[in-house]
């Protein structure tokens, strides 16, 4: 089967999953006490209790659940994610504005993670059970164990506030500028650390495993220098198991972005989500969770593709 076919099939397969995700989220929202109108009335003396009925009517919240869901679904398919009631905005507009910020952050986190993890893992595996290995092990463990919100706070307190090396505020110089990069570094590192630690561990384990395989001896018996053997033969095999895990890590990266965005006041979807939850802005919550679902599904898909590119045995299953 061709790669295109494979991708197509996978995407189709993921559709029900995403629908499921939306249904679950939607269901949760319905089960939860209080809706957006309650919250508007609760928070704002200008909105009088008598208004509740009128507002619900206006927002179509009085319709039966399934009807609301279907409406919403229809909208989503046509790129209209519904209204954010408390501010009468289009959810889609908000998503359009916030998503790039989050993606940028996540992407930076990933790059950071990989830049640290892969070389680190290789180094550790090659010097297994030596000092270098222990160092990387401790780093990896710490990286996994350190709560990212605390890490963020500490980095900010130390480098942005105390030493004042980094800005605490969006430089407003557009997404792709040097200042922006500068502003990205702290949150990027914060979000990337856990991922890099996880990756490094896996990189180490899988590489160490591969090194003991016979094809390595065989390659060396051919007279190839160790370097070549490791970087050509071993690395590619170890990366296979890394990719699958990398896909999983995307999920934790998404979660991470929520926290990190709050810590650094990053104007991304994560913070939007938190506010949306507090305001019970159902449409916003739905679309954001759905998006995270999409991201994760895509990540897994991507992993499978890379997996195939790395490992011919899998490729044949396309």
């Amino acid at each position: 089967m061709s790669l295109q076919k494979f991708i197509l099939r996978r995407i189709l397969a993921s559709v029900p999953v995403l629908i499921g995700v939306s249904i679950i989220t939607f269901g949760l929202m319905q089960l939860a006490p209080g809706d957006v109108v309650d919250h508007m009335i609760a928070a704002n003396p200008n909105v009088q209790p008598g208004e509740a009925a009128r507002l619900r009517q206006e927002y179509g919240l009085h319709e039966p659940i399934w009807a609301q869901y279907l409406d919403w679904m229809q909208g989503v398919l046509t790129g209209d994610f519904g209204e954010v009631y408390s501010s009468s905005r289009d959810a889609s507009a908000i998503v359009r504005a916030r998503l790039p910020e989050t993606l940028l952050l996540a992407a930076f986190g990933w790059v950071f993670a990989i830049l640290i993890a892969i070389p680190g893992g290789i180094y550790a595996a090659i010097n297994k059970d030596q000092l270098g290995d222990d160092v990387s092990r401790v780093f990896a463990l710490s990286g996994i164990s350190i709560p990212n919100f605390w890490l963020g706070l500490m980095l900010m307190a130390l480098f942005a506030v105390y030493l004042d090396w980094f800005p605490t505020l969006d430089p407003q110089t557009g997404l792709l500028s040097r200042e922006m990069l500068w502003w990205l570094i702290l949150p990027g590192i914060t979000i990337g650390t856990a991922a890099s630690a996880n990756l490094m561990r896996i990189m180490r384990t899988s590489m160490a495993e591969e090194i003991n395989k016979e094809y390595v001896t065989a390659a060396r018996a051919k007279g190839l220098p160790k370097r070549t053997v490791y970087l050509k033969h071993v690395l590619r095999n170890s990366l296979i198991s890394v990719t699958t895990v990398a896909a999983f890590l995307t999920a934790s990266l998404v979660s991470g972005s929520v926290v990190v965005e709050v810590v650094f006041g990053w104007p991304g979807l994560g913070r939007e989500l938190i506010q949306a939850i507090q305001l019970r802005e159902i449409n916003l919550i739905l679309i954001i969770t759905l998006l995270t679902g999409v991201v994760i599904v895509l990540a897994n898909l991507l992993a499978d593709i890379v997996y195939g590119l790395l490992d011919p045995r899998i490729r044949d299953e396309y």
């Binding site: 709560p147 990212n148 999920a251």
Partner: protein, 336 residues
């Protein structure tokens, strides 16, 4: 006796009188007594220096948290000790943001509450939730995954589809939504994290079971007409459980961080609560010193450090158990 090859025949190589040793069986899958696995873990743990440190830290933190303040269940004091120097919720036992000193080892917070006491008691929430969640999640996950893996067929595919669904949510985000919508507190948090946590156990155990399932002793047991339950619980699960144990140890840390993360986001606990994440949230303002102000570092450093220490120790233990059972479980997540 004699053998031939071509035209050659050898006689007189009599081996019968040598006491028969049974053939080397190392390479065959044999039934693993669960106890032996526990013994292996124990041996490894006491031998590994890192693990010992980890265990010590965990135990000390857990015990101090437990003994920090008296615990009364419906009026009856079940735990009379009170190691914490102050009542963690008592305001103004010291000045506002007093630096660490002999009277306040970790200084005081914005309401003059003793940080040391707060941090000490704070362990209760995170640790207990971490353990309870892990216990519940793993139990449920194991049963779910075992059923799925053991019976296979449509049961398997249905159960697995649902699993994919759960995995399509980022755990923390789902937990966050749940807690935010349905309110915080101990049990709601436990519930939320169990709901998002069980899936990975299910996946792991299923994978293992698919392997174990094929082993002789299982087939044998089946052939002898043992009931599915007994086969599953006596023969399969004990042999597939190893990676679950590793996952469990590793995920305690993940849960603790997750709980703290929610606390930090102001979801899950009331602000006054001496829970690590919540304390951090409450003291975030100390990052703002104003002009010429000084940074009350202790207010944010210590609570975070506690989370880090505990989780780190948990992970060190998990790491060692992982080696001991050499399952290649890689706990995804962590870091909140």
């Amino acid at each position: 006796m004699s053998t031939e090859r071509g035209r050659i025949r050898i006689t007189g190589f009599e081996t019968d009188h040598l006491e028969e040793r049974e053939p080397d069986t190392a390479r065959e899958e044999e039934y693993v007594e669960p106890q032996s696995m526990w013994r292996r873990i124990a041996n490894r743990l006491v031998r590994d220096r890192l693990a010992l440190i980890g265990i010590t830290v965990v135990v000390v933190m857990a015990v101090t948290a437990f003994l920090a303040r008296p615990i009364t269940v419906s009026g009856v004091t079940v735990q009379p000790f009170s190691l914490a120097p102050y009542d963690p919720t008592a305001t103004a036992v010291g000045g506002r943001h007093e630096a660490p000193s002999l009277s306040h080892y970790m200084g005081t917070d914005r309401l003059g509450r003793d940080l040391f006491s707060r941090v000490m008691v704070g362990g209760r929430y995170s640790i207990s939730i971490g353990l309870v969640v892990t216990a519940l999640a793993s139990t449920f996950g194991v049963i779910y995954g075992s059923v799925s893996g053991y019976f296979g067929g449509w049961v398997d595919s249905v159960l697995m589809r649902f699993l994919d669904l759960v995995f399509a949510f980022p755990a923390l985000v789902l937990a966050l939504i749940l807690v935010a919508l349905f309110g915080g507190g101990f049990w709601p948090l436990v519930g939320a994290f169990v709901l998002v946590g069980w899936a990975s156990y299910a996946r792991i155990i299923r994978g293992e079971i698919l392997k174990v399932k094929q082993n002789e002793y299982v087939l044998a047991a089946k052939a002898l007409g043992a009931r599915d339950q007994s086969v599953l619980f006596r023969h399969i699960i004990p042999n597939a459980i190893a990676p679950v144990i590793v996952q469990a140890t590793l995920s305690v840390g993940t849960v603790v961080i997750g709980v703290a993360a929610l606390g930090f986001l102001g979801i899950g606990f009331d602000p006054g609560t001496p829970e690590w994440g919540t304390i951090l949230d409450g003291e975030r303002d100390t990052l703002a010193t104003g002009d010429g102000g000084s940074w009350y570092w202790w207010a944010t450093v210590f609570p975070g450090l506690m989370i880090f220490l505990f989780v780190m120790s948990m992970n060190m233990i998990g790491d060692v158990i992982n080696d001991a059972l050499d399952t290649q479980v890689d706990d995804i997540g962590g870091g909140g």
